[in-house]
C-alpha cells in the first residue's frame, strides 16, 4: 500500500517534471483595470476606479490614484462598469442527473458525479457573468442528492471547476423539495403529510446512526457499517452541509422551517413563489431566501401566486435574499434580469445587486472569498458595457481567479453569448422525475 502510494506520487511528480507546471497552477501576472465605474457591492460606487488583481486575488480597489504595480498589464475600461462576478445559488447546467426513480430520498447521490463540463451551458454561464454557482439535482424528489459549488472555469474535469473548502474538501449542499413536484406514485409520497413524515423518519434514522457512531467511538467492532446516505444527513444535522430546499406555497415554506428546527438544518429556501405571504415568519427564523423571478406566474399550481415584488417584500422584512437562474428555467445569460425586474417591482437597486453577488456568496458559505470586490478576495469580476440593471447592457468580459474566461470580442464566446448555429447543447439535463416531461415541451402520444 505504502509502496504503491510512493509509486503513484513519483509518477505524478515525473509528469509534472516532463510537462512543466500545468497552466492551471500558473500564477497569473498582475492586471490593472482602469477608468471604469466600479461597483464593489460592499461600498459605494467608485467612478474612474482602479481594480488591481494578481495571483488570482484582488490586490486593490480604489479611485484613480490607486497605485498600480509597474509590471501590471493594463485594461482600459473607460466608460465601462466593473463589478464582482455573479453568484447563482441554484443552477442545473451541465447535463446533470441526480437521484433516479427508485426512491424519493437519496442523500448518497452526488450531482458532481454527473456533470459534463463541456456542456455549452457553461459557456452561456460565463457569458452571463456568473462566476460561482451551486449546481443542483432536480426537484422531483423529497431529497435528490448532494449539490456542488463550482466556478465555471475552463477545465476538462469537474475537479477543476469544484470549489474546495479550507480543508481541500469539495463544497456543496443537499437538495430537498416539498410541495407538488415530488408527489407521485409509491415509493414516492402522495401527499404533503406523507412527504414530511418520510423526511422525518429518514432523518431520525440518520440521527440514530450518528448516535451509534458516537457511542462506538474508536472501536471498529462497535461501529455500524458505513452508510453514505446517513453520512450525508449527519453532515446536514451537524451544520457542515446546508439544505437547499425547493419550496413554493406559503404552507410548504412553513413546513420547511418546522423541519429545519427539528433537525437543526442550516436551510436556504429556494424559489419561494409565496414567500411574500410569510415574510415576517421567514425573517423571524433567520433563514435566507434564494428567489427566482420568472416572466409570468403559473405553469404549475404552486407557482400561480408568484410575484415580482417577492424580493422587495423580503428585503423590507429583513430577510437575506439572493436570486438564482434555475437554469434552464431562466437563462444564465440574462441573470442580471432577475435583479432588474425585482427593482421594477420595488426592491432597492443596492439590495438587488447584492442579491446577485454577496448574498448568494454568503448563502454558499463563500462570503469571505467571492461576491464583492475587496482586497484578498478571489479575482472574479465582470466588465460590463453599462448599468448592470439595464436590458441594453452586455457582459464584455468575465474573469475568474484572475483569468479571463469570456470575452465578447472573441467570436466563439460571442456565439455562446447571443446564440447561432453550433451554439446548441452538448447534453440536456435529466431531471428524474417531475421536470423531464416539461424539458422539451409537450410529449407526443404513442409509446410514452
Amino acid at each position: 500500500m505504502t509502496d504503491c502510494g510512493v509509486v503513484l506520487a513519483s509518477a505524478a511528480l515525473g509528469c509534472a517534471l516532463v510537462l512543466g507546471p500545468p497552466a492551471a497552477v500558473a500564477q497569473p501576472a498582475p492586471v490593472a483595470v482602469t477608468g471604469a465605474r466600479i461597483l464593489p457591492i460592499v461600498g459605494p460606487p467608485i467612478d474612474n476606479g482602479v481594480l488591481v488583481i494578481g495571483g488570482g486575488r484582488i490586490l486593490a480597489v480604489g479611485g484613480p490614484g490607486t497605485p498600480i504595480p509597474p509590471d501590471a498589464a493594463r485594461i482600459d475600461a473607460a466608460g465601462r462598469v466593473v463589478m464582482p462576478g455573479l453568484v447563482d445559488t441554484h443552477s442545473h447546467v451541465g447535463g446533470i442527473g441526480g437521484a433516479d426513480s427508485s426512491a424519493t430520498i437519496q442523500p448518497e447521490v452526488r450531482v458532481s458525479d454527473s456533470i459534463n463540463v463541456r456542456d455549452s451551458g457553461f459557456r452561456r454561464v460565463v457569458a452571463g457573468g456568473i462566476t460561482t454557482m451551486n449546481i443542483m439535482p432536480g426537484s422531483g424528489h423529497l431529497l435528490s442528492g448532494q449539490t456542488v459549488y463550482v466556478k465555471p472555469r475552463r477545465g476538462s474535469t469537474i475537479e477543476e471547476l469544484t470549489i474546495l473548502d479550507k480543508d481541500g474538501k469539495p463544497m456543496g449542499g443537499l437538495k430537498m423539495a416539498n410541495g407538488t413536484n415530488p408527489l407521485r406514485a409509491p415509493p414516492f409520497s402522495g401527499t404533503r403529510g406523507k412527504s414530511a413524515a418520510m423526511v422525518r423518519e429518514r432523518y431520525l434514522k440518520a440521527r440514530e446512526y450518528g448516535e451509534k457512531l458516537a457511542k462506538a467511538g474508536d472501536d471498529p467492532e462497535k461501529r455500524p457499517p458505513r452508510d453514505l446516505a446517513n453520512d450525508a444527513l449527519l453532515e446536514v444535522m451537524s451544520g457542515a452541509r446546508a439544505v437547499h430546499h425547493h419550496t413554493h406555497r406559503a404552507d410548504d415554506i412553513i413546513t420547511v422551517l418546522r423541519l429545519a428546527k427539528e433537525f437543526q438544518w442550516r436551510v436556504v429556501l429556494h424559489h419561494t413563489s409565496e414567500a411574500w405571504k410569510v415574510a415576517p415568519q421567514i425573517a423571524a427564523a433567520g433563514v435566507p431566501v434564494s428567489a427566482i423571478v420568472v416572466d409570468s406566474p403559473g405553469g404549475k399550481l404552486e407557482a400561480s401566486e408568484m410575484r415580482w415584488d417577492t424580493g422587495a417584500i423580503l428585503e423590507k422584512a429583513g430577510v437575506r435574499v439572493a436570486f438564482h437562474t434555475d437554469d434552464w428555467i431562466t437563462d444564465s445569460r440574462l441573470f442580471n434580469r432577475s435583479a432588474a425586474l425585482a427593482v421594477r417591482a420595488g426592491m432597492t437597486p443596492e439590495g438587488a445587486l447584492r442579491a446577485l453577488t454577496i448574498e448568494g456568496a454568503r448563502i454558499l458559505d463563500l462570503g469571505d472569498r467571492v461576491g464583492s470586490l475587496e482586497p484578498g478576495k478571489d479575482a472574479d469580476f465582470l466588465i460590463l458595457s453599462g448599468d448592470p440593471l439595464s436590458v441594453y447592457t452586455h457582459v464584455q468580459q468575465t474573469w475568474i481567479d484572475g483569468r479571463k474566461v469570456f470575452d465578447r470580442d472573441d467570436p466563439q464566446d460571442r456565439l455562446h453569448a447571443v446564440g447561432g448555429y453550433g451554439a446548441g447543447n452538448d447534453q440536456s439535463p435529466y431531471f428524474c422525475c417531475f421536470d423531464e416531461q416539461h424539458a422539451y415541451g409537450p410529449v407526443s402520444g404513442g409509446g410514452q
Binding site: 409570468s296 403559473g298 437563462d331 436590458v391 451554439a423 415541451g441 407526443s444 402520444g445 409509446g447
Partner: protein
Amino acid sequence: MNPLCLAAVAACIASQAAAQVAVRGQRVYTMAPGPNGQAAPPISDGVVIIEGGKVRAVGPAATTPVPPGFRVLSAAVVTPGLVDARSTVGLSGIYNQPHDSDQIERSSPLQPELRAIDAYNPQERLIEWVRSFGVTTINTGNAPGELISGQTMAVKTAGATVEEAMLKDATAVVATIGPQAQKGPGGPSATAPPDTSGKSPGTRGKMMSMLREQIIKAQEYSRKRASAPDDKKPERDLKLDALARVLAGELPLMITANRAQDIDSCLRLAEEFKFRLILNSAAEAYLLTDRIRAAQAPVVLHASMQRAVGESENLSFETAAALRRAGVLFAIESGYEAYVPKARVVLLEAAIAAANGLTFEQALASITIDAARIVGVADRVGSIEPGKDGDVALYDGDPFEYTSHCVGVVIGGAVVTDTPR
C-alpha cells in the same frame, strides 16, 4: 341583483367602453407609416384623442386640442396597444392542469377544424397578466405540437366573453413540422428509442407527405363542392373546409418549424400549393434569410428568450436583426410554453431583440404594426391612426428597459389598467 341594478351596471360598462379619453405622452410612437415606408418618427409631447372607442386624432399637443370633459392620462412614452402575433393564452391556462389546458388536442395529427373560438377562456388570469404590460391584441389559439393542430383567432385582452373580445374569429390554420409533431417515442432527444409504435407521422418525410396528401384532398373537395352537380357534391367536411379556406387564400397556413431544413420544407410546400405561408418560431431562419425574403413569407419569430434546447438549440438573440436586414416582414411572438413561465410577454421578448441588433422602433414594430399586418388585423390595430381602435399603452420610461413600468392600458377607449407594472 335586481334588473334595475343590472341595467345600471350595464350602462356603466357601456359608458366606460365609449369613454372619451385623451392620452398624452412626452413621446408618442404612432407606428403609422411615414413618408418613405418607414414608421413615422415619434411625436414629442403628443396627444391621442379617443372617442367612441376609436382614435379620432393624434398629433402634437400644441395643435391637437383635448375637447372638454375628456379624461386625460399622461405618461413618458405612449405606444399602440401591443400585438402578440402568436400566443396560446386563454386556451393554455395559468395552472397548467388538465382543466385549463385546451391548447392541444392529441387524438389526431390532422385537425384543421379545431377553432380557437370554442376553447378560449376570457377570464383566464394570464390574459390580465400580459395585458398589464400593454398587450391589447393576441393572436391566440391551438398550440404547435400536431402536424395540423387547429386554428388561431385574434382577440382583444378585454371582454367577458370571446364574442366581446373578438377581433377576427379565424386568422390562420396552424401546423408543425419537426419532432414536436411526431407520434410514437422520439422527440428531440438523440438517445430516444427507435419508434416502433406504427403511428404516423413518425418522420419529417412522412409529415410532408401527409400534409401534401391532405392539401390535395382539399383541392379536390373544393373543386367538387364548387362545380359538381348537387347530387354529386361531396358532403361537408370540416377538416377540408378549413384547408379549402387556406387554398382559397382566405386564411394563411402558419407552420411552426425550427430547423433550417424544415423551414425550407415549408417554403417548398407553399410554392407547390400557392397558399399564404407564415413561418413560425423559425429558430434557424438566419441560415436562409434570402430564400425567405424571395418567397415573401412573413415570419412570426420565436420568443427571444425561448429556451435553446432541442430543435431550437441554435436559436439566436440576433435572428430578428438578421431578418430585418434581409427585409423580411417579421413579428416576435410569446408562443407556447409547456411549463414555467406559463406565458411570455412580447414586450419583454422584443426588449431582448432591441438589445441585440434591432433599433427601438424596429423592435416596437415587431410587436405592433408588423405583428398586426402578419395576423391580418392592421386595419383595426397595431398603430395609432385616426379611425383605428383606441388601443394604447402607457409607460413611465423606455418600454423595453427592465426597470420601466407599464402605467396604463387603454382598449377601445376604455382604461383597463392604470396600476403600474
